[in-house]
Symmetry: C2
Subunit: 394 residues, 2 copies
C-alpha cells in the first residue's frame, strides 16, 4: 500500500459538530510544539483555566480541559463522583442521557431513569417524583442541550430541585457552552463538562470540565479509588494546579490542541459571551424562517429549541440520506443525520460557533432549497434564503 | 484579565517527549477540520490503520489510535483485558510499570509485582519464578522501553515466557515504537499501546494500540462490562471497523490530530522502519561518545540502553535543575529531569523521531559542554561535539 499525504476536501460544517474553525485557531494549532512542563506552557495553562472560568461563568478552582473528547469529560464526572452502590437519577431524553446511564452502571452504581420523549425537555414533575421516591440519591445527571434532538432543558430548575433533595448535579453542556447561557455558579451545578468542537469552534479532542467545592468534598470522601487512572481528578489536579513550580507530571498534555483551545477562548472573550449567545439566537431565527419557506418544521416546540442545533423533521417520501449526500457532493455542506430513535426522522443543522453566521444560514438554505426542489420535495413557497435575510437584516 | 494569543517560544525538544515535529506534520495538523463521519475522513482512517499495521509490524485487525494520550492507551489495554478477581503479573522497573500496577488494581484485580531496580531490565528468572508460583495468571504486563530510566527489556523473551504459562502479554511500547524494533506479531504480543509524541514525532494526544485475536477472544468472553465506556473496544471498533458505510458514531474523533498522525506515519513509511531504527541507534552512539568527553556516563548498562532515551548520571555537586534551566534559557533546549526514584539523579536526553539527528546531537553536546564548563562541572576532556562527529561522520 502506498499512502500519500492527506488533503481534506473543502467543507462547510453544519452538522452536530465539529463546526467550522477560524483560521486563527488553526494557525494556533499548527505552531511548533513545546514541552508540557515548559514554564511558558504552564503560564498558558493558567490562562486557559482563567478563560474557562469565564466560559463556564464559575469561580470553581477545579476547572480545566480533560485531554480527550467530551465523552471522556462525561466519564470523568461520573467516575470521580459516583461509587459502587450509589443511586443516581439520570434524566434521559436523547442519546446522551442514555450514555450517562451506561456510565453510572459501569461505576457499579444504580441509574434511576427519568425518561422523556426524544425532542421534549426534561419534565420537572417527573424528576421531583423520582427524587421523592428515592431518598438519598447521590446525584441528578442531565443533559442541558441534547445534541441528538436539539432540545434544551431548564438547568436552573433541575438544579434547584436536586439541591432541595440534597443531591449533586452533573450537567452535560457539550453543545450549550458558548451557544446559550451556561451559568455554573448561579445554577449551583456541581459537575459540568463540555466539548471543544461545538460552539467554541475549536478542534475536537478536549473536554473542558468544572467541579464545585461540594463535588470536590465528595471526591475527597470517597471509599474507593477512582476506577480510571487517566481521569482521576486527584491526580490530574497535580498537573493543572495553580501552584506553579510544584506541577507534577500526570500524562503528556495534548500541547497543540491546547494552543487551539486557548485561541478559541481568547476569541470568545473578545466577542463576549452575551454577544455570542445573541448571535446564535438570531441566526437560529433566520434559519427557522427559511426552513418554513421550504415547508419544513422543527422537531422541538418553541421555547425549548437550541439555537445552535436545529432538528428538522424530514418530509414524507423524501430520501433523507440522499439529501445529505447531495448537499455534501454538490455544495460541500455537511448537515447531520438523526441519531438513535430519530434516525431517518430528522436532519440536524448545526449553527455552532463559527458556523453560526449569516453566510452559513444563507448558504445552507439556498443549497437545501435547490436540492429539495430538484428532488421534487420542496413543499413550501420557496425563497428560503430571502426569508432568512429578512430576519438577519432586520 | 486580558489574555492575548499565545505564541510558543522557540524550543529544541530533547527530553522524554514530546519530540520535535516536522513542518509536514504541523501543516497537516492545521488543515481545515472536516466531519468525523465524512466519507473522505473515513478513507483516511483506513489508511491510518494500514500504516499502524506497518509501524507495529502486525496484521491484527484491532489496530487503531485511541483518542487520548498514551496513559489512556495503557488504561484501554487493562480495562478491556482485566476483570475483577484476575491475577496479573506486572514487571516493575520504573514509573510506567508502577502505573500499570495502579491500572490493574483499579480494575478490581490483583497485581503480582516482579520488581527490578530502576535502570535495569526485567529479570527473566524472576518473571519465570513468579509465573511458576502463580498458576493461572491472566496476563503478564511489562514496559518494553522504560521512559523513566532509558532501559529496554527483552520483549521477545518475556512474551515467550508468558506464552509458555498461557498468559496474555500487555506491552507498553510508548517510547520504543519507531525508535527500536517493535515486532508485535513475531513476538506474539497480545496488547500493545504507544504514544504519538515520541519516536513518531507527532503531536501528543493519541495512543496507537493493537490487540491480537487471542486478546479479542478474551474481551468477547468477559463476565463484566468494560468499566470505561470511552475505552470499551467493543464500542470503539464500531467506529473504526473496516465495514465502510456501517460506521457507527461512538465519540467525536480528534480529526486534526489524526491528520497529523497520518502524516507522521506516511513519513515513517517513506523512511522505512529499519532505517529509522538505524538512525536512532547511530545518533545514540554519537551522543554517548560526546557525553564521555564530558566525563558523563549513562545509567543503563550497555546492551539494555534505549537509543532514543538516554538517562545520564548527574555528576556529584552539580545543581541539576540549574543545568536544565540554563539549557532552556540560554539555548532553548529542553532536556528532561529524572522521575520518581531517579529524580535529581539523572537527566533524560531524548533522541526521538525528528529529534534524533546529527544536528540535535551536536547542539545538545555543545550546549551542555558550555553550560557545565561555565559552572565548573566539566570533568572530562571536552570536545564533546567533535567526539560525537567522529561517530556521525564515520
Amino acid at each position: 500500500m502506498t499512502v500519500s499525504s492527506f488533503h481534506p476536501p473543502s467543507r462547510v460544517l453544519m452538522g452536530p459538530g465539529p463546526s467550522d474553525i477560524h483560521s486563527r485557531v488553526l494557525q494556533a494549532l499548527g505552531r511548533p510544539v513545546i514541552g508540557h512542563l515548559d514554564p511558558e506552557f504552564i503560564m498558558m495553562m493558567d490562562e486557559i483555566k482563567g478563560l474557562l472560568h469565564y466560559a463556564f461563568q464559575t469561580t470553581n478552582q477545579m476547572t480545566l480541559p480533560i485531554s480527550a473528547p467530551g465523552s471522556a469529560g462525561m466519564e470523568c464526572a461520573f467516575v470521580n463522583l459516583v461509587e459502587p452502590g450509589d443511586n443516581v437519577i439520570v434524566c434521559v431524553n436523547g442519546v446522551f442521557g442514555g450514555r450517562m446511564v451506561e456510565n453510572v452502571e459501569r461505576c457499579g452504581a444504580t441509574a434511576i431513569k427519568v425518561v422523556d420523549d426524544w425532542g421534549t425537555p426534561i419534565d420537572l414533575n417527573k424528576l421531583e417524583d423520582a427524587l421523592k421516591a428515592n431518598p438519598g440519591v447521590k446525584a441528578v445527571a442531565f443533559v442541558h442541550a441534547e445534541t441528538s434532538t436539539g432540545v434544551q432543558s431548564d438547568a436552573a430548575a433541575i438544579s434547584a430541585l436536586a439541591q432541595k433533595f440534597d443531591a449533586l448535579t452533573i450537567m452535560d453542556a457539550v453543545t450549550s457552552l458558548a451557544g446559550t447561557p451556561v451559568l455554573v455558579d448561579e445554577w449551583k451545578i456541581d459537575a459540568c463538562y463540555s466539548g471543544t468542537q461545538k460552539c467554541l469552534s475549536c478542534v475536537p479532542g478536549l473536554s473542558p470540565v468544572t467541579f464545585s467545592e461540594r463535588a470536590l468534598e465528595t471526591i475527597r470522601g470517597r471509599n474507593h479509588k477512582v476506577q480510571s487512572w487517566f481521569l482521576d481528578l486527584n491526580l490530574i489536579m497535580g498537573y493543572w494546579s495553580s501552584e506553579g513550580a510544584t506541577r507534577s507530571y500526570h500524562h503528556t498534555a495534548p500541547v497543540n490542541t491546547l494552543y487551539a483551545l486557548h485561541e478559541s477562548l481568547v476569541m470568545l472573550k473578545e466577542e463576549g459571551l452575551e454577544n455570542a449567545w445573541k448571535r446564535h439566537a438570531k441566526n437560529h431565527l433566520a434559519l427557522k424562517a427559511g426552513l418554513e419557506a421550504l415547508g419544513l418544521t422543527l422537531l422541538v416546540e418553541e421555547g425549548y429549541r437550541l439555537p445552535q442545533l436545529n432538528a428538522v423533521k424530514i418530509p414524507g417520501g423524501v430520501d433523507e440520506a440522499l439529501v445529505r449526500r447531495r448537499m455534501l457532493a454538490d455544495f460541500g455542506i455537511e448537515i447531520g443525520a438523526g441519531l438513535g430513535a430519530l434516525a431517518g426522522k430528522v436532519w440536524r443543522i448545526g449553527l455552532m460557533g463559527q458556523s453560526s453566521s449569516p453566510r452559513h444560514v444563507t448558504l445552507v438554505l439556498s443549497a437545501l432549497e435547490g436540492t429539495l426542489t430538484d428532488m421534487g420535495a420542496n413543499t413550501g413557497n420557496g425563497g428560503a434564503a430571502q426569508a432568512a435575510q429578512k430576519v438577519l437584516l432586520a
